[in-house]
Amino acid sequence: MNIMQMFPLASLTSEQLMCLLPLFTISAGGLFSLLVGTNKSNGHGYAFIVSFAAVLYALIEGCSNLFVSDISLLQNTLVLNPFTRSLNLMIMCFALIAVVLTYGQDKKEGLLAEIYGLILFSCAGMMLMVSTSHLLFMFISLEIMSLAIYVMVAMRRSSRFSSEAGLKYFILGGLASALFLYGSALIFGSTGSFELSTIAHNVQMGQPSIIFYIGLGLVTVAMLFKVGAFPFHGWLPDVYQGAATNVTGYMGAGVKFTAFMAFAKISQHLVFNESVEGLHWFHSFLWFVAAASMIYGNVVAISQTEIKRMLAYSTIAHTGYLLLGLIVVRTGVEDTRSLIIYLFFYALSNLGVFALISLFEDKNQKDLNLEQMAGLGIKHPILGALFTIFLFSMAGIPLTSGFIGKYGLFSSAVSRGEVPLVVIAVLTSVVSVYYYLRVIVYLFMKESTGEMATLHRLKGPTVAAVISALATLQFGVFPKAVIHFVKMFAR
């Protein structure tokens, strides 16, 4: 064994190293922030600075590396082309906002300084996951991401809801991971490859065996679990409520983005491969899951009186809309454009709205009751306005980026002939308008009857909310930049 094989890093060319630099920076920043976080007097502050600097530097690195040529490593398992690099950039944006959002929230909720390191580790996992089309590698990066998230969810140590949520998420998530791995193994068994394009090729050559279909079914179910689609959503409301609110925001943005991009890659190669028989069943299955998620999520959200739980159910509905965008993904990455745009805009308003909730939540409070929010918008007009922007964005009302996202997603679905599902989507989003408006009604139009939530003046969440709100408005009125960015790289 020569020295090159022992240290694969040393065999990289300088260009390959350049491309991997954001990933290295994030991982090293995570480790380093764990280290400085042990400082007794100001561990949180140091960890914040280190992780913030690491993500920011990685982001700059990622921007400057966007245009270099394609890199593939480890026998094509890790592919860094402009498309995956731009996805990585978006993920780093979410991580950056999440790091900012955590500052201040960490002390209030008594989170350990390790939270910053965990954010960075999960970010690295997400970046790997969207950069690969190798099922096994996908599994490993899924685990890198998920393990960090499990810990983050359970990190409010003095809250029993948090422990409950962490355990629930861990057990069910572990089951989903196992399904994914087992499914990949079955697919490997029947097609002889883990590489998605090779699998698709082999499947086209000869009629696949039943084992392939079982494997594909297991992988699909695992992915549906990760994105929180209807029959596999059971963990979602409890985890959203139990986790510290900054973690919830980061999950809703990052995990959803990553899982959907990976899912889109899998389904584009395997499920919507029109030359293979029997796969239309998967299409119909996803169609029904999408419709059921929209209906279930929106209808159940109406009856919620706690805001995080309501947003959890609404996120199931958003998963339904996104699945609608997913089933029109056919040939190449061009089809994922509207999906990416929607996810990006949704993630922004998601981070923003949870940042605002964390400002009003007391320590260890499970959730913010709508009654507690009555009159808050009148008392704090600017925060109320920010709340309104995010809720309008989620409801898809013009002037906000959510409308542009929804427009792109639904119009691409209409152009693919999925009109009935789009009609279901718009009708259920009328329902969603009702419960989003109800929050605004409480904020501005109801008098406070009992105790009103107190405002915790935390720097981090405030900054995160303002940044997200500005971006939401900016991209709502002038979305051209994002659309061009996505168009440039998704081809």
Binding site: V419, F444, K480, I483
Partner: protein
Amino acid sequence: MDSTSSTLLSWIVFTPMIFAVIALLTPSFMESKLRTLTLIQTLVSAVLGIMLYMGFDGTSSTMQMVHFIPWLPDWGINYRVGIDGISLPLVLLTSFISPAAILGTWPHGELKKEKFFVVLIMALQSGMYGTFLSTDLFLFYFFWEIVLIPMFFMIGIWGGKDRIYATIKFFIYTMIGSLLMLVAIFWLIHSSQEFFGQPTANMAQLSQMSFGFDGSSLANAFRSPQTYLFLAFALAFVIKVPMVPFHTWLPDAHVQAPTVGSVFLAAVLLKLGTYGLMRIAIPFFPQAALYFSDFFILMGVIGIIYGAFCALSQTDFKKLVAYSSVSHMGYIMVGLFSFQKVAIAGSLYQMINHGISAGGLFMIVGFLYERLHTRNLEDFGGLAKIVPLMAIAFMIMTLSSVALPGSNGFVGEFPILLGAFQVQPVFVLFAGTGVILGAIYALKAYQMVMLGPKTTRHDVSHLHDLDAKEIIAMITLTIFVFGIGFFPRTFFWKSDATLEEYGTTVIQKSRNP
């Protein structure tokens, strides 16, 4: 076209927005000046409206003063505003009713959160101008939705007792229609890609496309794509009009809204619906529109009579005026769907006239409510002697509302009935009874408020008459009531070329594709 005139429309759309930003930045010690600022803004908008009227070429039937800025060219979506003879009167209506509404309806006392209120009024105006002026379908939808938001807050925060119920009902009702319209917009833009080779949301281009329609039987009609598209657009618009049976949000919203909100709602927002029908639903899908025209005329007639009977039985003055709106908007539906040139022109006139008379009546309701804090008709009586000026103003608005010859109402309703009579004489016979019913309920309201013995329920002896601002507002409206009534050509001649061209094209396209 020179560059100064081509940006005028954008100035009209965004001037209220600019003032809204100024209002937001007003420091708290200046907040007492916010009302003046609002008045200045509406006056600036009115001046811009006059400039628009001066610069408008009445002999041309095409879009004028087009201002084009690329927005999302990849999706075929652009910022494109323009004006023709159909939108001109509606823009002018908005720019003249706004200062009158601000002058006439501002609450006398302190208003809570006045800054927010002012910003909403300005945003509302921007949205209304934008909807009337946009010639890009996406932009139209964009502004159409934006109009909802200020109204939602206005009713919800400053409204009456059941304001939350009313405002949510208003919002959800409109959203159901507009989201289905959005799906139809996707479909249109997607089809434009096949038709023109690239997607476009330009209304002028979209109206050239034709969709298959087979009217040989009802079942075949419902298999035609044109039917779906037409119904999706029409639903969004008739909810806004509102057409029976989608009218139930209107009385609630009107009764709960603050007076200035009611005035804008009645005078301009309802016209967005009929404008949409006239601009999009009918000319884009003329065959389907013609095929279903009997249904819409029938619904219009039902609206006229049903609205009138509902108005007749109200004791709440504001609700009475709200139901009278349902009744009067029914005429516009009858006129638009009769596919007769004279009736179509009458519908456009009726939009303006109803804006003036309903706006004026809501202001009268506001005057009374400010002074006596009641809207119950039985609480009034014999006020004419105490407040003679208000009695005169009320009489003028009543006459305008009942379409007395010589007032503006007649100019709108008469051509509609005349034109529609040629296609649906029986329906028009029933619609004509609406004129009589209209006179009954309007005069009943006048009698209960102003005539008869002096009420004993309130101490009305010290009731003060209209103040200077309210007089100016009423005089503005009165000029339009009698001006349009006696000299309709002076006010509407600039629309003739467009209406002629529009009528010819629509009627021709609806008969032979």
